[in-house]
């Protein structure tokens, strides 16, 4: 049977909860500020972006290419209920096409918090690293179970896994799915582009078509850039269940 809490203990618990809430608020405000700034100028300074790319090599046809950004993508819209329903209908990460077996590096220093958590999807294998700034990085569609163990420390740029293919054939759609979430709850996803130091506008310059964001007929200019995208609350309501929009699902 629990003993009654003293007034001091109660105060300490409330203080700790308040501190935790404040910390989360700071993180969320920082992310929001970063997003707002990014929205205004299209980019943010390196000092505001604490993480690096998940690859050690530059983009290209022999290394990796950004194939789907975070947020209100047309692809996510088409699959907003079936695939992305748990993430408010958004594509709550970045997709990088890469050959199976391409080394993945940690975007920052941190501690391994989860290995192959099936609740996160993005199979066949995945990995989560919690970073000191209360942000977690999540790596999905890995080729094999990472050799890292929960609690193990990793450095920024350290090889942590190999990219794979959700279809497990390495022929269908081999790619890395990268998310940034709040830690330790992992309940919110943040646009990684706002926190990874890279020239995203230049990285997006590959192939023959623009990046396709879904355009809501009520507000066609909303959520149309790499930077201006909503945060994801897992389990929250759909954000892109538009009455009418373009492109159609046909």
């Amino acid at each position: 049977m629990d003993r009654p809490r003293s007034r001091r203990e109660t105060f300490r618990r409330r203080e700790a909860m308040a501190a935790g809430a404040f910390l989360l608020l700071v993180v969320l405000l920082a992310a929001a500020n970063t997003r707002n700034l990014a929205t205004r100028v299209g980019k943010v300074s390196a000092a505001e972006k604490p993480f690096g790319l998940p690859f050690s090599s530059p983009p290209g046809v022999n290394t990796w290419l950004l194939i789907q950004p975070y947020g209100n993508t047309a692809f996510a819209y088409r699959n907003r209920v079936s695939v992305y329903g748990a993430g408010q209908g958004l594509h709550f990460g970045l997709d990088f096409a890469a050959r199976c077996g391409t080394p993945i590096v940690s975007v920052g220093e941190g501690i391994v918090s989860e290995v192959d958590n099936p609740n996160h999807g993005a199979g066949p294998h995945n990995l989560t690293i919690d970073h000191p700034n209360q942000i977690a990085s999540f790596y999905g569609h890995l080729l094999e179970t990472p050799t890292l163990t929960v609690g193990q420390e990793v450095k920024a740029g350290e090889v942590i896994a190999l990219s794979g293919d959700p279809d497990e054939t390495c022929m269908g759609r081999p790619h890395l799915h990268l998310e940034l979430r709040d830690a330790p709850s992992h309940r919110r996803a943040i646009n990684p582009i706002l926190m990874i130091d890279a020239d995203w506008d230049r990285i997006a310059l590959a192939g023959s078509y623009p990046i396709a964001f879904q355009q809501d007929f009520d507000n066609p200019g909303r959520w149309q850039t790499l930077y201006d995208q909503p945060e994801t609350l897992f389990g929250g309501p759909l954000l892109n269940d538009f009455g009418a929009s373009w492109p159609p699902n046909w």
Partner: protein, 390 residues
């Protein structure tokens, strides 16, 4: 502006051929994974009816038996300088395209909650944004027809009298031929499946949906668009489960089988030239690293080469490709023009490179090849890049 019986306003003489390309790019990107088609128009009046026949059978021999493994030698020519200027307010819009004349840039917009959703335009010579039409859909080159979804079906509407026809595509989007006499579409599951194993059927019909017939079933690929003469379709994938994968020419004429133009396991970013005579695409992540890169091939199978550069590319005109190399070591983006038929290239120098930052890979040459419109990542305004002549 004119106002139709249903209150639709149609800009006089406005031809949204690149709206078609813009919209199709999104549609086909979704339908065929990395494959997409920008059915760029021009047109000869192919006329005639649609031959009625069964599905075509593939023939074997690719005209290019072996690939060009080394980048084709491209002759450099002196650089020339381009002009750069904004035409809209910051934060204006996304996915710009061109009117036919190329005097106007058009885009999907709803300027205020009181305004109508529709396709709006801005004159590049200066002027206010104005509504071009409230009908959002896929337009034929001459803007005589528009295809749009409604209630799970696809309709084609003739703009001259607003009559419309139900297309038997089971709600799938269609691609108009350049002369707007025919349509093509692909049918298959829209669910997320292994794209290498997905099977899609390629269909053609008259523009009003009559005379529809299934041409072929393709595995791991899909419809790219219409070839130069509108008498053949260009598709990607495999014609049979264990067969070769690549780019195929699929004639509509009876008795002619599919012809493999280029064998490649998974072509990406397929883009037809304005006249349909060339196709650009790239191959990536193959273990045969020397085969990865950007390719241009003729859609009649007579020529093909691999370029030494890779990045973001668009056709400026028939046989002339614009390319922004993907090279982050360069402090600013570069713009190159490659004459693929002459195997020549030249750099187009940007006078103020800091102003040439493109958002969302969102840029498009004008129909006459004299300009490029792009969304700036600095202010999200529409900017124009005036290109030099030949």
């Amino acid at each position: 502006m004119t106002s139709g019986p249903r209150g639709r306003r149609i800009g006089e003489g406005i031809h949204l051929k690149l709206v078609v390309a813009l919209i199709l790019s999104a549609v086909l990107a979704g339908c065929a994974g990395d494959l997409g088609a920008a059915p760029e128009p021009p047109a000869k009046n192919a006329g005639g009816g649609l031959p009625m026949q069964g599905g075509t059978q593939p023939t074997t021999p690719p005209p290019f038996g072996s690939h060009t493994l080394q980048p084709a030698p491209i002759t450099p020519t002196p650089a020339v300088t381009v002009r750069l200027y904004p035409i809209s307010e910051p934060g204006c819009c996304s996915r710009p395209a061109w009117s036919a004349d190329p005097g106007q840039v058009v885009f999907l917009d709803r300027p205020s909650q009181e305004a109508e959703i529709g396709i709006y335009g801005i004159p590049i010579a200066g002027g206010m944004k104005r509504l071009v039409t409230i009908r959002v859909g896929l337009y034929s080159k001459d803007w005589s027809l528009v295809a749009y979804p409604e209630g799970g079906d696809t309709f084609v509407e003739r703009l001259s009298d607003q009559r419309r026809w139900l297309i038997p595509s089971k709600g799938r989007g269609v691609v108009f031929s350049r002369d707007a006499s025919r349509i093509a579409w692909q049918a298959g599951s829209l669910a997320i499946t292994n794209p290498d194993r997905r099977r899609d059927e390629i269909w053609v019909a008259q523009w009003d949906g009559s005379g529809e017939r299934r041409l072929v079933s393709v595995i791991g690929g899909g419809l790219i668009g219409w070839a130069q003469d509108d008498e053949a379709l260009i598709v990607a994938g495999r014609m049979r489960e264990a067969g070769p994968s690549g780019i195929w020419r699929l004639p509509l004429a009876k008795g002619e089988g599919a012809r493999l133009l280029w064998e490649t396991p998974s072509p990406r970013g397929a883009l037809l030239s304005p006249q349909g005579g060339w196709l650009a695409f790239y191959q990536a992540f193959s273990e045969a690293v020397r085969q990865n890169g950007l390719y241009v091939i003729r859609t009649d199978g007579s020529q093909g080469l691999r370029l030494e550069k890779f990045g973001s590319y668009r056709w400026r005109r028939e046989g002339t490709l614009l390319l922004l190399p993907l090279n982050l070591e360069q402090p600013d983006a570069q713009l190159w023009e490659i004459d693929v038929s002459r195997a020549e290239q030249r750099q187009l120098e940007i006078p103020s490179p800091a102003d040439f930052r493109i958002a969302n890979n969102d840029w498009m040459p004008s129909p006459d090849g004299s300009k490029v419109v792009f969304v700036s990542s600095e202010d999200y305004a529409l900017w124009i890049l005036g290109l030099p002549g030949d």
